[in-house]
Amino acid sequence: MIIVNPRKCSGCLRCQVNCSFFHTGSVGRSRSRVKVVKIEGMGIDYPVLCRQCEERFCTRCPESAIEIGPYGQVIVSPTLCVSCGTCETLCPIGAIELFEDIPYVCDLCGGEPRCVMECNMGAIEYEPDSNELVSLQPFKEGARGQSPEAKRIRYALEMTKGMREQWKSSVGG
């Protein structure tokens, strides 16, 4: 799975830029499968992408268009998908988002994630052999009706609480 370390993330968006470029040949946030949340006033930069979670909420697709691939990646069938947006609604952290009727979600680039290759901060790392399972159940609460961006912000804030506490105690010495 992909591990994000917000302490190291500078918010440069190279993950987002390269994800978009190597999947579509063009650069834009709407075409990227990783989206960096930036909260300038708190110094938070957090790349949000599919955690290959334990629950696999997105696989409850009514059209059965979503399956899990050999690396644990989410695979969306372009022929079965009817762009209903259920996967976007179900994902509690905003890691799937439709743009122009196509669901954008991390596919792990076939086992060699571009975002990881391009991050020279070490803020995104890939551990293909990790057996650890991440539960996103706690993020389900309050997720209903939220936009993907709002869900990403909630997630980023929660995941960086400890970082902010540690920052405050470490400076000025």
Binding site: C12, L13, V17, S26, V27, G41, G43, V171
Partner: protein, 602 residues
């Protein structure tokens, strides 16, 4: 379709409310390229020269380039231009962050704003949807508050906001515009220009990706550029400290402005250095869009937290005005960013006042009882508050040092360190001769970024010999060949601005050359950007800027430096005994530029 370019220009007239979306003209783009070049040519073609900069007739331009927001590293920049309220000549300021790339995705290469709204407003751009929105409820808010208030109002955190603070609203002549809270369009008073149009902010959100003509070639060229950046000998220091590394670096060569350029060596530099800042207050690296150096920093002190500061702010509010307290400097940096004031120009008004106090030219009675003793922190805080609100003596300070010193007279004009009304940056030109020439001839006044001839600091003697046949070019204390260097780096700087890359990378690190740039532009746009075409365009833009400035009243007598740098030598340190022989250098520069002896293009 156009590649690279978004393909549209947005015209907004705030007086009538009329909004027009027109196609970008590829022939025009070949001449203008993008960013600063595009803005300069637009002003040259459309600006009435004799207008008051604060009048509705002034044009406010926001320009990005064909490669902004693309795979190209550090393609983050954009330029804001107009007739400067600060200087009355060409005004422009560039910054990185994330606004420029977002504007590209919204589908625009340039925004052209004219007129004046009858009440405070902000401009909302969401792809094709463009709207002038009421902003009375935001008037009076600082930049950080405004940025988050607009995002909340639009219920979308992904909007990029460029905003002014109270200083811009109150028409402080050196008011700034900021995006992402801390990326500042600092110089020449573009925030004042926003304020004069009752324009509080621009909010932009775009969903159209940036498309490239020859994707595979472009990718290879971007990778080549990345290799140059990552292999650069300065990468580690720039990554760790960013521009704040200059505090110690400039001090080591005796050109760190101390007590308003009376000294070039600061004995307490270790208390205010970039290293000290990194060790005590930095919590992580920050970055502009798509950069692989990440030279910016996030800091937390007990009082404030923010991204930044850059060297010019750090020095302007420490050694330049006699402050040895880094904690205080950071507090001021955050205050300047929130209120929207340029650190350099505000710092120069304070430095001027402090030197005038030292020399007995001013006393407390002249300045509302304020005590401008070197490093007086209470006075610094108080005068900034007065400047932002234009209260009391702050009203005169808010006009900038040139006007302020003329008002007080008594010989204090001699200590106003500016060229053409723009205050001098933090680098004593007496120990860096090519920089001296740059300040003198830069088309927006005393500014290093118009040419940033960093090469003279690198001691790359063999490379100097190879490129220009003059070894002295790599010797900072020599004036030999410096006009040759500045003529070259002035074009390199403009090229970097047109491609909207970071000038630290393209220029200071000497990463960008005309051949690589031509190939990037050609692969990016599919237009016939040969290296020759690019060169011709750059020379054309530099000449157009000059002609426009001549129309604004600039002549050869103004291409000079304050007397301090040409006649008073530094008394100690590694640049001891030096002055800038500016006349000969300017003359040589005109000749190389192909201008006549009065500095007029053909």
């Amino acid at each position: 379709m156009l590649y690279g370019y978004s393909g549209h220009i947005l015209r907004v007239d705030l007086s009538s409310g009329k909004i027009i979306r027109e196609k970008s003209d590829p022939h025009y783009m070949l001449k203008a390229i993008g960013g600063r070049g595009l803005n300069s040519l637009r002003l040259y073609d459309e600006l009435r020269r004799d207008i008051d900069p604060l009048s509705p007739e002034n044009i406010l331009l926001i320009g990005v380039g064909p490669l902004t927001g693309s795979l190209l590293s550090s393609s983050a920049y954009m330029t804001i231009s107009g007739k400067s309220p600060m200087t009355g000549i060409l005004g422009d300021s560039a910054a990185g962050g994330f606004f420029g790339p977002e504007l590209k995705q919204a589908g625009y290469d340039q925004i052209i704003i004219t007129g004046k709204a009858d009440k405070p407003c902000y401009l909302l751009i969401a792809d094709d949807h463009v709207e002038i929105k009421e902003a009375s409820h935001l008037w009076g808010s600082d930049i950080w508050q405004t940025t988050s208030a607009i995002r909340q109002e639009l219920t979308d955190n992904a909007f990029q906001i460029a905003a002014i603070g109270p200083a811009g609203e109150n028409l402080v002549k050196f008011a700034t515009v900021a995006c992402n809270n801390s990326r500042m369009f600092g110089r020449t008073g573009m925030g004042c220009l926003f304020g004069s149009k009752n324009l509080k902010a621009i909010a932009v959100r775009g969903t159209t990706p940036v498309s490239i003509a020859d994707t595979l070639t472009y990718m290879d060229l971007c990778r080549e550029l990345d290799r140059r950046i990552l292999a650069h000998p300065e990468w580690n220091d720039r990554h760790a400290l960013g521009s704040t590394l200059l505090m110690k670096a400039l001090n080591n060569i005796g050109i760190l402005p101390t007590n308003h350029f009376q000294k070039g060596v600061c004995e307490y530099v270790d208390k205010i250095s970039g290293q000290e800042l990194a060790e005590k207050f930095k919590v992580k690296n920050k970055s502009c869009f798509n950069c692989n150096i990440h030279c910016s920093r996030y800091y937390i002190t007990g009082d404030v937290e923010s991204e930044g500061p850059e060297f010019e702010t750090l020095c302007s509010y420490s050694s330049r005005i006699g402050v040895d307290d880094l904690h205080f400097t950071l507090k001021m940096a955050a205050y300047l960013n929130r209120m929207g004031i340029d650190a350099l120009s505000s710092g120069e008004t304070i430095g001027w006042a402090m030197e005038c106090f030292q020399r007995g030219l001013l006393n407390k009675d002249d300045v509302d009882g304020l005590d401008f003793t070197w490093g007086n922190k209470e006075t610094i805080e108080e005068i900034l508050g007065l400047i932002v609100q234009r209260k009391g003596v702050g009203d005169a300070f808010a006009e900038g040092t040139r006007s302020l010193s003329t008002k007080f007279g008594r010989g204090s004009e001699k200590y106003a360190l500016h060229v053409k009304g723009l205050d001098i940056i933090c680098g004593d030109p007496r120990g860096i001769k090519a920089f001296g020439l740059t300040y003198a001839i830069a088309s927006r006044g005393a500014d290093h970024l118009r040419a940033e001839p960093f090469f003279e600091l690198t001691e790359r003697y063999d490379e100097a010999e190879k490129r220009w046949g003059i070894r002295d070019i790599a010797n900072r204390l020599s004036n030999n060949g410096k006009a040759v260097l500045v003529e070259y780096t002035e074009r390199q700087a403009l090229l970097t601005d047109c491609m909207t890359m970071c000038k630290n990378i393209g220029l200071s690190m000497d990463i960008l050359d005309f051949d690589l740039a031509g190939r990037l532009l050609k692969a990016g746009t599919g237009l016939n950007f040969t290296p020759e075409r690019v060169e011709k365009s750059l020379r054309g833009i530099i000449d157009a800027d000059r002609k426009m400035n001549i129309d604004f009243g600039i002549d050869a007598s103004m291409d000079t430096l304050p007397r301090r740098f040409t006649h008073e030598s530094l008394e100690e340190g590694p640049s001891k005994g030096q002055v800038v022989p500016i006349k000969e250098m300017v003359k040589e520069y005109y000749r190389l530029r192909g201008w006549d002896e009065e500095g007029r293009p053909a």
